[in-house]
């Protein structure tokens, strides 16, 4: 089905829905690289005007990636909840934007709507929204998940403690964990990206993480971000796996390039559930996504990168995850050129993830070949604080010495929590107070005298 819009004497025609979406999307290098971006600025606005008039119901019949050949499309279509969709079923995309922003549309209504929305609907409306719209709607939505603590409550901002080490050295990783805990980070998860993804290394790291967490009785969860097949193997061997991690993308072909499909995710989900390790809940999955991953696998099907990332959220939500985050600036300038594009993409991903019912966090980050720096990260972090982001990353000094990119630091997390009046997850906050690491005003102590920090620092006996 073709779409068109006339501006002045020029009639802009868009051959199909995916082309319309791509032309309407805010400018970014990855869509230019894919050859799907609007040629000129006026075409972009023409596409938005045409998109605003498209009924949401069109998205239920016109798929951007073929149903017959793509299991992600089948997942989206086959699990669509028509009852949940009913309140917005008669709206166009433009009317849907107005509906989302209306005062009457509460967080409760948005939560009920989530199963009725497809990723493409979320992507479409986001293309008509300014940054402030993405923030205003996202902040209405609270997605609460539980494992050993409670993530996503109003007034809370959690932090993934990311203690990576270039050679997976156990003491090096433990040292970074202690530093992070002393800064109040780690309530989302203590999650290690292993430098070496093999069974022996992952088993060793999991053992160390579990020993630390149990020894100090920290109300959080641990994760080694290995490939899902590695995690399956170590679970079978009895390793202490809290969360199963996997990077996911928005098409079957892109997921295949990651070495996964829906069936292996199901298998891992079931295996993790069967361990029954969560003290408070059974959200056992952790997913990462990022705009551009489908194109880099040459598996984007001519769809713009933001819409493809939304489709990855459909994969994620099928498994009731504890945590989902976009790694927004990791992929490089050929996908997101500069700070402006990274900030916009971060807000889009956060909004769309929340709208689709996910506990959405953001790895606010950049690489050294992108036109971005710490100031851009400060901007995005602050905006996400306003937007009610579920969690961000905590990396020592913002410098990941294993993955060689810059994310947000323990310091950054303190800044945004204080600037926005946000607290850690309640169980974790209580632990920080019990250990004396946090003072009565909610600030992290800088002096260790008289606190429980000595126990943390004495980690010679670690496995």
């Amino acid at each position: 089905m073709a779409f068109a819009h006339t501006i002045g004497g020029t009639r802009y025609v868009f051959d199909d829905l995916k082309t319309l979406l791509a032309r309407a999307t805010p400018d970014r290098s990855g869509d230019r690289l894919a050859g799907v971006a609007a040629a000129i600025a006026e075409e972009r606005v023409a596409a938005r005007m045409a998109l605003a008039d498209v009924p949401l119901s069109t998205f239920l019949t016109e798929h951007v990636v073929p149903y017959e050949t793509d299991e992600v499309t089948r997942l989206i279509a086959d699990t669509h909840d028509a009852d949940a969709f009913a309140p917005v079923a008669s709206l166009t995309v433009g009317e849907f934007r107005d509906w989302l922003l209306a005062h009457e549309t509460t967080g409760t209504k948005l939560a009920a709507l989530a199963p009725g929305l497809t990723p493409e609907m979320a992507a479409a409306v986001s293309k008509l929204m300014r940054n402030q719209d993405l923030i205003a709607v996202a902040r209405k939505i609270n997605v609460v998940t539980r494992f050993n603590n409670t993530i996503g409550l109003p007034g809370r901002l959690s932090v993934r403690l990311q203690p990576n080490h270039p050679t997976d050295d156990l003491k090096g990783i433990a040292a970074s964990i202690v530093d992070g805990l002393l800064y109040g980070s780690g309530d989302a998860v203590i999650g290690i990206n292993p430098a070496t993804d093999n069974v022996a290394t992952v088993t060793q790291l999991l053992g160390m993480l579990d020993a630390l967490r149990q020894r100090w009785d920290v109300p959080t969860q641990s994760c080694v971000l290995a490939h899902v097949t590695t995690t399956l193997t170590v679970m079978e061997a009895g390793a202490p796996v809290d969360l199963v991690f996997q990077s996911v993308a928005g098409s079957e072909a892109a997921n295949k390039s990651f070495g996964i499909d829906l069936s292996v995710l199901h298998e891992a989900h079931e295996a993790a559930l069967s361990l029954k390790r969560g003290a408070l809940g059974d959200n056992v999955m952790y997913f990462e996504t990022g705009q551009g991953s489908a194109l880099s696998a040459n598996a984007h099907h001519g769809v713009d990168q933001q819409t493809m990332d939304c489709r990855a959220y459909a994969v994620a939500r099928a498994f009731k995850p504890l945590l989902v985050n976009t790694v927004v600036g990791f992929i490089g300038p050929e996908y997101l050129f500069d700070g402006k594009q990274i900030v916009r993409a971060g807000l889009e991903d956060h909004f769309c993830g929340k709208l689709l019912g996910l506990p959405m966090g953001v790895d606010v980050c950049y690489t050294n070949h992108a036109e971005a720096d710490s100031d851009d990260m400060d901007n995005l972090l602050t905006l996400l604080g306003v937007a009610g982001c579920t969690y961000v990353m905590g990396v020592p000094g913002a410098d990941d010495v294993m993955l060689s990119y810059q994310s947000t630091s323990f310091h950054d997390a303190l800044y945004v929590r204080e600037a926005m009046g946000l607290k850690p997850a309640p169980e974790f906050e209580a632990w920080l107070l019990r250990m004396g690491l946090m003072d009565g005003t909610g600030r992290m102590r800088t002096k260790l005298e008289g606190t429980g920090a000595r126990a943390l620092l004495n980690f010679d006996g670690f496995p």
């Binding site: 080490h165 003491k171 202690v178 490089g332 050294n368 070949h369 000094g397 010495v401 810059q406 630091s409």
Partner: protein, 247 residues
Amino acid sequence: MSGDDEWSALRAFTPARLAQGRAGNALPTSRLLEFQLAHARARDAVWAPFDPAKIASDLAGFESIAVETNAANRHAYLMNPSLGRTLPPASASKLTRGPYDAVLVIADGLSPSAIHAHGAALANIVLSRAPHRWAPAIIVTNGRVAIGDEIAAALGASLAVVMIGERPGLSAADSIGLYLTFAPKPGISTDADRNCISNVRPEGLPLADAAHRLAWLMDRAIAMQQSGVALKEAAESPTLPARADSR
């Protein structure tokens, strides 16, 4: 000025930026400026103008040919990686087929500074150690790893060794990566077909150690008539000999 945190002893265990201290919630000024310096060096490394003539003159008597990819400038190179994987006719015509086993491709990659710092020294070790029939070294401006596929195919060499500046991190802007591909096929070979030795720099994997590991991989690739995943498994087994003349 604020100082480090009390637990700065933890730094002994990791290169991560631990216990940096606080001014309010923020980094103390000295730590803030340290970070900015590291980022500035990384940015400068990405954008450093590549000097292939200097590399050529620092090669110890080894012949070389300088080429450029279809990435006409640094901006195009960063925005469209595929341009850095192919040669324009003017460069392709400089390559003629010969009786070669291997070719060393020296590419600026994402850190021309890394190649300026250690490229020629590493090339001299590599070219003098391994007893192969080496083609002239090919020095590439605005190159990506896969440029080695087209170059090796044009020269008729069965082994492509690409020495390339790695994306600079904050801790090091001068790391070199070595990528080995057996019987590379332009446009078809992928990362799964290659073996990589990364973090090659004096403070990381020393040059001589890297050259030693490369020589071993090259021998194995010839023996197995392949590179990539199968060879990676062999390389991770305990049969990899320790270097006797390390450093």
